[in-house]
């Protein structure tokens, strides 16, 4: 029963992949080894598609694999079973969090966590900027994408000063990218 198999496999990924969409990758390689659903090459294509479409990475991959294996029904089974453990476990944490969040120790932990989250996402922001601005992976003498650099420099003060909804900047950038052939 292909639906049951999809359900079970993606439930496992949802349960054990800690740390976001890319953490699901090793599990997907494993899937590729076990079943004839897709090969490594298709997996890399899937990552490219998932990276360039909106939404959580894991959901994009699950939907795509589910569709490939068992059509629209398969994609729904795969994506829903992927989020089921998240919903269950996180809801349980929520019920406990309500009680613990005001305790002194938890407050102290968050005092250390907040700057760490800012630092971690700061590092991601830098790597995003690097990917956007340099044509190849960063190394000395790597070709700078002048258009992307200019766009970033123009957007930076706009984002800080104008405080529009992010959709405004994303749509604007898409338009600029198409017009100026990024």
């Amino acid at each position: 029963m292909i639906y049951a198999l999809l359900f079970w496999e993606f439930l496992k990924i949802g349960l054990f992949a800690v740390g976001g969409g890319l953490a699901a990758l090793p599990f997907l390689y494993n899937l590729s080894d076990h079943y004839n659903w897709f090969n490594y090459h298709e997996l890399i294509d899937m990552i490219a598609v998932a990276e360039s479409t909106p939404g959580p990475l894991g959901i994009n991959m699950a939907t795509y694999i589910g569709f490939k294996v068992a059509g629209v029904g398969g994609s729904l089974v795969a994506s829903l079973s992927l989020i089921l453990p998240s919903i269950a476990i996180t809801t349980i944490i929520c019920t406990m969090l309500k009680r613990f969040r005001e305790s002194k120790q938890v407050q102290w932990a968050f005092y250390g966590l907040r700057p760490a989250v800012a630092g971690l996402i700061g590092a991601i922001a830098l790597s995003l900027l690097q990917i956007a601005i340099f044509k190849e992976n960063f190394r000395f003498g790597a070709a700078v994408d002048i258009k992307a650099l200019l766009l970033s420099l123009l957007l930076l003060p706009a984002v800080f000063k104008l405080k529009q909804h992010p959709i405004v900047y994303i749509a604007l950038a898409a338009l600029v990218g198409i017009i100026f052939k990024f």
């Binding site: 949802g14 349960l15 054990f16 800690v18 976001g20 890319l22 598609v49 990276e51 360039s52 479409t53 909106p54 939404g55 959580p56 959901i59 939907t63 795509y64 569709f67 629209v72 994506s79 989020i83 453990p85 998240s86 996180t90 809801t91 944490i93 929520c94 969090l97 969040r101 005001e102 102290w108 932990a109 968050f110 005092y111 250390g112 966590l113 907040r114 700057p115 760490a116 989250v117 630092g119 971690l120 996402i121 590092a123 922001a125 830098l126 900027l129 990917i131 956007a132 970033s152 957007l155 959709i167 900047y169 994303i170 604007l172 898409a174 990218g177 198409i178 100026f180 052939k181 990024f182």
Partner: protein, 203 residues
């Protein structure tokens, strides 16, 4: 039950939510965030700050930061975990389901659409150009999101040091984020205990 949750929110946050938030409102807000998130869970932050903090006053920038730390350590997708953490205080389990389905609905629809047209669509030049520029915009948006987290989270010298250390560790990619978050939480507790001790000695 709703009254109990509302009471919790009132204790947790500065602002007051008196009206019950509609499930459709939760679903649509998270669908919007899901549709506009290009990249991993971190790319949601600017959108969540706009939708959930500024627009609806459901929570604060600090809450977002706390939930992000928890979402990274909880199993599953960061985006779904964030949706659950934000929606639970609003409407309990029903809110959680609405938010989780909302955040994944646009992805599922778009991928299904793409999967049927994939071979042709992924090579269309226009889309490549658009995404190259969107990447730059997402980078700038995430930088602004970090600035907001920085303003709220860095309150003294120890937090400044934690920020710099995690930034460096993140750039060098030497420790897994989960481990870094555990270390940071532990350090926070230790630093506060030392602070209390010092304050006690001074008296």
């Amino acid at each position: 039950m709703a009254a109990i949750w509302a009471g919790d929110i009132m204790r947790n946050h500065e602002f007051r939510i008196m009206k019950k938030v509609g499930l459709l409102q939760i679903f649509l807000s998270f669908a919007k965030v899901g549709a506009l998130t290009f990249g991993g869970g971190y790319a949601m932050l600017p959108l969540l700050q706009k939708e959930a903090v500024e627009r609806h006053n459901w929570l604060t920038d600090n809450d977002i930061s706390d939930y992000y730390a928890l979402a990274q350590c909880s199993p599953g997708l960061i985006a779904v975990n964030m949706a659950v953490y934000i929606a639970y205080p609003l409407r309990g389990l029903a809110g959680v389901v609405a938010a989780a389905l909302g955040v994944i609905a646009p992805s599922v629809l778009i991928i299904l659409l793409l999967a049927t047209l994939l071979q042709t669509l992924s090579h269309i030049e226009l889309i490549t150009h658009a995404f190259a520029a969107i990447r730059a915009a997402v980078a700038v948006l995430v930088i602004q999101a970090v600035y907001r987290l920085y303003k709220n989270g860095i309150v003294d010298t120890p937090t400044q040091i934690i920020f710099i250390l995690t930034l460096i560790a993140g750039v060098l990619n030497i420790i897994s984020p989960v481990l870094m978050i555990l270390i940071a939480a532990f350090s926070g507790i230790i630093i506060q205990i030392i602070k209390k001790r010092k304050a006690g000695d001074g008296q």
